[in-house]
Amino acid sequence: MAWLSRPLTLVGLVILAHGCYSAHEHTVLSSTSVQHPTSPSATSLPLDIYIETIAATVLICLGLVLGSGAPQPIQWHTWAGKIEREGDAGSGDADKETLGNPFNALEARSGFININKLHKDFVKYQQLGK
């Protein structure tokens, strides 16, 4: 659904710009025309500009909603379960704002170092060299 976001927003912006231009032209024309100086239609916009503007607003709104990042669960057990199931990379690949597993460093750390064994190996290595 997220791929729809930008096309919808762009189309809505174009329609909104057209509606803005139409409204402006209508105001200019009706203020300069001398045929109906006192008619109420001179001040109110035609119905199609209303429809166009409101449709464009809803379109852009829909596009922005689809483009906003997915929210994260706030309950700890829900959130941790989601990370367990969907891996550490976060839920979405599109937005980098999703929080990965905060315990990655603990999960991927190396094991304990056995100093005694390392020392024995080193002693063996030294004896081999002699």
């Binding site: 464009a56 852009i60 994260q72 706030i74 704002e97």
Partner: protein
């Protein structure tokens, strides 16, 4: 929520901040857009604010439908229950109205002046 409940069901503060930021960003953007719409339509006084409140609530509903509802309903929560992502219901439904109001008035007056000049 009592202290005991918070101990049993802890809350992820990062997620709370992330969700609030997402919602605030969305409402700031859309509020400016609604200002453009209201200015083009040449709305005045109460009608402008009614326009804004109606569309702001519509935005919240759309946000719920497209972003919250799929996983929230799958979890077994009721319709319009935002408890999975927000601490209080009011945070989702009405906080956006006050966040975006200055931006709305700004673009409303600007476009009203541009179109009706």
């Amino acid at each position: 929520m009592s202290e005991q409940e918070l101990q049993i069901n802890p809350i992820v503060q990062d997620s709370v901040a992330h969700n609030t930021k997402t919602l605030t960003n969305l409402h700031s953007l859309t509020a400016s857009l609604f200002g453009v719409g209201a200015g083009i339509l040449g709305l005045e006084s109460y009608y402008g604010f009614l326009f804004y409140i109606a569309f702001s609530i519509t935005t919240s509903v759309l946000f719920y439908i497209f972003q919250l509802a799929p996983s929230s309903l799958a979890e077994g929560r009721g319709v319009l229950d935002s408890g999975r992502y927000y601490k209080g219901a009011l945070e989702l439904w009405t906080s956006g109205i006050f966040n975006g109001l200055p931006g709305f008035i700004l673009t409303w007056t600007l476009f009203y002046g541009l179109v009706r000049a």
